[in-house]
């Protein structure tokens, strides 16, 4: 007897046996209907409750992350504005020291110029001498009729000549005096011009200061806005963080390209120093040595930027006094320059090695290979690139700082978004389970619809008999 035969109730008719089994199962399910319903509902409600709890916990975590990110962004924004303000104040101080320190000398120059002008003006006011007083008497005599008396006529004629000569002399004096005054006034012109230029310069300096003051006002307004922790300022900070993060990432990606190029320039010649066939772990010694050189260069670049005050990744370095920082910056630059020189020479060795290998490979080939157009251009190019790249990579410290500083905010923003979506997904999943439980109950009832239908019919008849449902059809 095989196991299948155990389920045969009616020998010779498997279909009938199956139907009988279905009948038994339906009857069993009908009897277990209410406990089964409760079990399904309880199970799905339990899952719904757990998921809802998880969703609430996730939302709570998301709120904490948002609050923390907000705090971080506000602090970062305040620090940045403080730095900006500090820088502006430094510039104003420099402008005041540089421009207004010359104010006393300017004032002295102006006083001297005005003194000169005053003196020259006073000189220019010297008038020509007035005509002599006896001229009026002569004029009266000249008005006498000359035809009446022969003795008077020569006198009058003499007087006339005298007056004319006096007139010409007076006019000559007057003209000379006017010419002198004009000359004096002409001498005043350069003084006026100089005074005007001095005043213009003063105006320009004052205007520059005003512009700086406006920038300070803007920065102060921003700072106050951030300090007030308004939603608008937080939104602006978030947008700014994202923009700076992605810009910095793009720039670092470019820098990484530079590092790779640098690596390929020096990896082969490094094998001439440390050997081409030796390995450290699973990497060639020459590759490791090349990487070490590149990283030392990058580290020196970082320190250089730090000592110059361009980046502030390490606060302890920023706390050093100005003289020490200057010396250390010089030291870092010196090491960088030496390493750049080493790289340039390695690039030259690389070209030599590659050239020698190429010549040897060509000697093995049955046909002669093509000769390069120029030999010195690639060599020079490689050497220049190898020398310049370490200095260029130094500027990678700036996007690196931006990436590190904005990374925390961006991570918080992204984390909060992920948590928000996770909370939503958990809640939706909980609801899905709840409705699946209800659907399960309905499907359960669907499986046992014959006894349910009979039950419904029986109940209808019972109620009809009791007179409650007259005129209504059974459902």
């Amino acid at each position: 007897m095989i196991h299948r035969d155990l389920f045969i109730i009616w020998p010779g008719s498997p279909l009938l046996s199956v139907l009988l089994w279905i009948g038994v199962a339906v009857a069993f399910l009908y009897l277990a209907r209410f406990p089964a319903h409760r079990a399904v509902i309880s199970f799905t409600r339990m899952i719904h409750g757990a998921l809802r709890l998880a969703s609430r916990s996730t939302l709570f975590l998301e709120r904490r992350v948002v609050a923390r990110t907000r705090e971080v962004m506000i602090n970062a924004g305040m620090e940045e504005r403080e730095r900006s303000l500090e820088r502006e104040f430094q510039r104003i101080a420099e402008a005041v020291t540089c421009d207004l320190s010359g104010y006393p000398s300017l004032q002295r120059t102006l006083v001297e110029q005005s003194g000169q002008i005053d003196e020259e003006y006073r000189n220019s006011t010297v008038l020509p001498p007035p005509p002599p007083r006896w001229v009026r008497a002569v004029e009266a005599l000249a008005k006498l009729p000359a035809e009446g008396d022969a003795s008077v006529e020569p006198i009058l004629s003499y007087i006339h000549k005298t007056v004319e000569s006096q007139y010409h002399a007076a006019m000559a004096d007057y003209n000379r005096a006017v010419t002198d005054r004009q000359a004096i006034l002409k001498r005043i012109m350069p003084y006026w011009r100089k005074v005007s230029e001095t005043l213009d310069e003063m105006g320009t300096r004052i205007k520059r200061l005003e512009e700086r003051a406006k920038l300070v006002d803007i920065s102060m307004a921003d700072y106050e806005e951030i300090r007030s922790q308004s939603d608008q300022s937080v939104r602006a900070l978030a947008a700014s963080s994202m923009t700076r993060f992605f810009t910095a990432a793009a720039l670092l990606f470019i820098a990484l390209g530079g590092v790779l190029l640098n690596f390929h320039l020096i990896a082969l010649p490094m094998s001439e120093m440390v050997g081409g066939g030796s390995y450290i772990g699973s990497f060639r010694s020459s590759s490791v040595a090349a990487l070490v050189i590149i990283f030392v260069e990058f580290a020196m670049g970082l320190y250089l930027m730090e000592f110059l005050g361009i980046t502030r990744l390490f606060p302890s370095l920023g706390q050093l006094d100005e003289k020490m920082r200057h010396h250390l910056a010089l030291f870092a630059f010196l090491i960088l320059a030496i390493l750049a020189g080493v790289e340039a020479s390695l690039a030259y060795v690389r070209d030599q090695l590659a050239g020698e290998l190429q010549v040897f490979q060509q000697s093995l080939a049955p046909t002669q290979g093509a000769q390069p157009v120029s030999r010195w251009i690639p060599v020079t190019g490689q050497m220049v690139i190898a020398f310049v790249l370490p200095f260029a990579l130094t500027f990678g410290a700036i996007p690196l700082e931006a990436l590190v500083k904005t990374g925390r905010s961006v991570l918080g923003i992204v984390g909060a978004a992920v948590l928000r979506w996770a909370a939503f997904a958990l809640r939706a999943l909980g609801h899905l389970f709840l409705h699946l439980g209800r659907l399960g109950v309905q499907l359960y009832d669907l499986l046992i619809f014959p006894p349910l239908w009979v039950e419904g019919l029986w109940r209808y008849r019972c109620k009809r008999t009791e007179g409650f449902l007259e005129g209504q059809a059974p459902q």
Binding site: V259, S271, G276, G277, S278, F295, L302, Q352, V404
Partner: protein, 214 residues
């Protein structure tokens, strides 16, 4: 802040390290050439290929079999390349020169002592401490038999790959013959019994897959 910088440095290191060449175990190869084929085009092609594919620190040797008894006099050159690329290139030039200048002894026996040459090559490769060892045989193995005295000789060929190069048309046709096939199988059994790997190369272009270059 500092940990972030450290992580970025680490990521950069791993990124660049990932771009470097994969690890290659030190290799050594020994080429056994039939004296009749020494100045043939396939022999020159094989030697040229190995000279271009060998990396600094790797070893290479060439022997010419022309007599019934293999001896040290039959070795053309055996050299371990320096770790510095420039010196390695100079050594390769020297190796090529020695190969070009070598004049084989006149053939004095009906059969060549390829088995002896093989044993010598395995011993030479063992001295290099290379992790990947190759013995290339440019001779008609279908024509040569393993001497009875050597058949029971315990070969120590673990990690050694024996590669007969059969590229001449006549040789390929001869290989089809039952007797030649049987002899080749005997060689294969002998090598594999000693722990070596047997791999026949019928096309010189396949050498790049067997012994990849830079």
């Amino acid at each position: 802040m500092r940990w972030a910088v450290a992580i970025l440095f680490l990521a950069q290191t791993l990124g660049i390290a990932g771009c470097t060449e994969p690890t290659r175990k030190p290799r050594a190869a020994y080429l056994i050439i039939d004296a009749a084929r020494l100045k043939s085009a396939p022999a020159e092609a094989v030697v040229n290929y190995f000279l271009s594919a060998l990396q600094p620190g790797e070893s290479f040797g060439i022997a010419c079999v022309g007599t019934g008894s293999f001896s040290d006099r039959d070795t053309i050159v055996g050299i371990s390349l320096d770790l510095r690329p420039s010196l390695a290139t100079q050594q390769k030039r020297f190796l090529k020169k020695k190969f070009d200048e070598f004049t084989p002894f006149p053939r004095a026996a009906a059969h060549m002592d390829i088995a002896g040459a093989l044993l010598y090559a395995v011993a030479q490769l063992g001295e290099t401490n290379a992790q990947e060892r190759y013995v290339l045989i440019l001779a008609n193995l279908g024509k040569e038999q393993i001497p009875e005295t050597l058949k029971d000789f315990p070969l120590q060929m673990e990690g050694c790959r024996v590669i007969p190069i059969i590229v001449e048309t006549g040789e390929l046709a001869a290989r089809q013959q039952a007797a030649a096939l049987k002899r080749l199988e005997a060689w294969e059994d002998w090598v594999e019994t000693g722990g070596g790997l047997w791999q026949v190369v019928n096309d010189l272009a396949l050498l790049a897959t067997v012994f990849p270059g830079s």
